[in-house]
């Protein structure tokens, strides 16, 4: 019999231990999105107002006629209207003196593509809201189509592999850095393998939203769309951090700081080897990805150094 250790420190971050969601909800088995959405109200509290749009979170966040799958206040709107609707709520609650933590929750398709304009506008106006983008690198809810955060050479249903196509031909938008360039109150990256880091960032988000706009970019693999086994999603998150494919950093008013150091980063193949959407990669494509990872990490490092 192994000696019982103290339970993981992450449990100490929970403001709310009770589940606000029903026990059984329609997210895929092993989906990190389910983990994120159940985690967020546990750390931020159950009085948050969630603003969502059609995406993978919608079948659970939206009610069905009168019924609903959770006990949170939520506002559902179009993909083009998330950050702007949250602005309307935040401004009104501020006017009437009502305390409110408004959390926008969308995928990368909304944040980087069709909802980018309102997101950028809300960030520039420094609206006091928290915007969480879960990045599964594509439009997963509608069938795994490519978005502007889909990595170069990835296979999706609109960038399939064929005689004349080797996957997505362009590099993805570096959305978290773009958002940090708005010099908002707080911008950070997080993922599900590093839960304590994520919890700390959520708590900081809650505090910083009283000063201005907060943006959190969460790396959230899609087991179905990326063709990984349902049990491997956390492992993929961890490897993304270890290879510097997804560095963990935070930026307050444009001043960067790494929150997790990777002294011996693994080669990007150790990540792509785990993921089905990269199964077709040839050497030159892997080199492209490694170069992208290295250059983007070097940029983050430089931004952090300039901050010292």
């Amino acid at each position: 019999m192994v000696e019982k250790t103290k339970k993981s420190r992450v449990f100490d971050y929970f403001q709310e231990k009770e589940e606000v969601y029903a026990g059984g909800v329609a997210w895929c088995a092993g989906c990190p999105l389910e983990l994120t959405l159940r985690f967020v109200p546990k750390v931020l509290g159950k009085d948050i107002v969630i603003v969502g749009c059609p995406c993978c979170s919608a079948p659970v966040l939206y009610g069905q006629n009168l019924g609903t799958w959770h006990r949170l206040s939520y506002y559902s709107t179009l993909m083009t209207g998330v950050a702007s609707s949250a602005t309307g709520l935040a401004r009104y609650y501020k006017k009437i003196g009502q305390d409110a933590t408004i959390v926008c929750y969308t995928g990368d398709g909304c944040a980087a593509d069709v909802g980018f304009q309102p997101l950028s506008g809300a960030a520039e106006r420094n609206e006091k809201i928290i915007y969480i983008c879960y990045d599964n690198e594509g439009y997963m809810n509608t069938g795994v189509q490519r978005s502007s955060t889909t990595p170069i050479h990835a296979a999706t249903t609109t960038t399939p592999i064929g005689k004349e196509s080797r996957g997505k031909p362009t590099v993805p938008k570096n959305l978290p850095v773009i958002m940090a360039m708005h010099e908002s109150a707080y911008v950070a990256t997080a993922t599900l393998s590093h839960l304590e880091d994520f919890a700390k960032k959520l708590l900081k988000a809650k505090e910083k939203k009283n000063e201005g706009f907060v943006y959190l970019h969460v790396f959230c693999p899609c087991p179905v769309g990326w063709r990984i086994a349902s049990d491997s999603s956390i492992q993929v998150c961890r490897m993304a951090v270890r290879t510097n494919y997804f560095p963990l950093w935070e930026a307050e008013y444009g001043k960067f700081r790494l929150t997790h150091e990777t002294p011996n980063p693994r080669p990007v193949q150790e990540l792509t080897g785990l993921i089905g959407k990269f199964a077709h990669l040839k050497e030159d494509q892997i080199e492209d990805l490694q170069r992208m990872v290295d250059e983007r990490y070097a940029l983050i490092k430089k931004l952090c150094e300039d901050n010292k």
Binding site: V49, G63, S73, T77, G88, R91, Y93, K95, Q117, G121
Partner: protein, 399 residues
């Protein structure tokens, strides 16, 4: 008659009148995005805010689409909200406009009408009203600057009414009314507060409260969806009577009323009737008086409420006439006639089969002149006497 103070008369543009109307109603949140010809509404509201005349949360959004989403959300959290735009901006927020009405968000929006995209035009026309007539909003079309201010106040009273809970568009001619300065009596704010006070006596509408497990915007599944659409349509029907009621009440408060759904001018013994909307109505009144002097029994109907369509009141006033002429400041794609004409023609079972003539005029800031309307009256009169007539006339092309 309720006693109110005489308001101060100011010489202000239509845009300023819209901003004054909104300011008097103390909106909680207002958004602004500049577009010709209504940018002045945004500027005026911002000035009011900057001078402390209102404590509205002004949001200078980055696009009209966001402008609508911000105000819709603010009303669904329980607030009062206002925005303004025109043609291109209106069609950019088309998805949010549908969202607002489907969610039953009582937003008030002032629109300075301008031609819609497809042909680049920075000029007036009513195509933007027509292109949003199926969005489920209440649409009112006004004639002069005083009516703009008064209608914005009435719009809040209508939109937020517990029996209605629908967003309202107050439309006025871009370039003609938006930029024209006219003397406008600006009511005192306490009187406007008293006019809107009945809203506080009504039950509170459902609103989003942090911590309360209510979800705004549930999925409409099968018959649930049908139920919501039905409720929306029924609310629009209730709005017909409510528009008349609020207009009467406004008349009691401020001494000005506009007929509610439609305004009838010299229709009692009219043989032929002209139907117009917006600023052209003022010109039409002058022509009707002149033609009456000449012995032609012509009457005028101003179509003030366009959605919901004032079917019953129009049927009552158009029944038993000998001919009808409708002047449209827009085109009806697919029906080869003016769009308002088409909707009035649909009343044939109620009003009988009589000559009905469609006139398309006033597009792209081309004036609807006295000469044009005189010609319309002459042709409608000739049709009423059994002479052959042209059903559809594009007046600018026949000059």
């Amino acid at each position: 008659m309720v006693s109110t103070q005489k308001g101060q008369v100011r010489v202000i543009t239509g845009n300023a009148a819209a901003a004054y109307g909104a300011m008097l109603c103390r909106p909680d949140v207002a958004t602004s995005y500049p577009i010709t010809p209504m940018s002045e509404v945004a500027e005026q509201l911002s000035t009011f805010r900057a001078e402390g005349l209102v404590d509205t949360e002004m949001v200078e959004v980055e696009g009209e689409n966001s402008a609508m989403n911000v105000v819709a959300a603010a009303t669904l959290a329980g607030g009062r909200a206002f925005t303004a735009t025109s043609s291109w901006g209106l069609v950019f927020m088309y998805d949010a406009v549908q969202h607002a009405s489907g969610f039953r968000a009582p937003v008030v929006m002032a629109i300075a009408n301008r031609e819609t995209p497809g042909i680049l035009a920075v000029s007036g026309g009513q195509q933007d009203i027509i292109s949003t007539r199926d969005t489920g909003w209440i649409q009112i079309i006004v004639e002069d600057c005083q009516e703009i201010l008064d209608s914005v106040i009435m719009a809040f009273r209508l939109a937020e009414d517990y029996d209605i809970q629908l967003p309202v568009m107050v439309n006025y001619d871009g370039f003609y009314l938006s930029y024209m300065a006219m003397p406008v009596e600006v009511p005192e704010r306490e009187d406007v507060d008293r006019f809107l006070a009945p809203l506080k006596q009504q039950p509170e509408r459902t609103k989003l409260v942090p911590g309360k497990p209510l979800g705004c915007g549930t999925h409409g599944i099968e018959v649930g969806f049908v139920e919501l659409r039905y409720k929306h349509c029924m609310a629009m029907q209730r709005a017909l009577e409510k528009v008349d009621e609020i207009d009467r009440s406004f008349g009691e408060f401020f001494g000005r009323s506009y007929g509610g759904q439609i305004e009838e001018y010299r229709t009692d013994d009219a043989d032929i009737i002209l139907v117009t909307s917006g600023g052209a109505t003022g010109t039409a009144r002058v022509v009707v008086d002149a033609k009456r002097e000449q012995g032609i029994k012509v009457g005028l109907v101003k179509l003030r409420l366009f959605r919901p369509f004032p079917r019953q009141r129009l049927s009552e006033v158009l029944k038993g006439r000998k001919a009808i002429g409708v002047i449209d400041r827009s085109v009806g794609f697919g029906w080869n006639c003016g769009p308002m004409f088409m909707e009035i023609r649909a009343l044939t079972p109620e009003i009988g089969i009589i000559p009905m003539l469609s006139y398309i005029d006033g597009l792209a800031n081309l004036d609807i002149t006295i000469l044009h309307i005189e010609r319309v009256v002459d042709e409608v009169y000739a049709a009423s006497q059994g002479k052959p007539y042209q059903e559809v006339t594009w007046i600018p092309l026949e000059e």
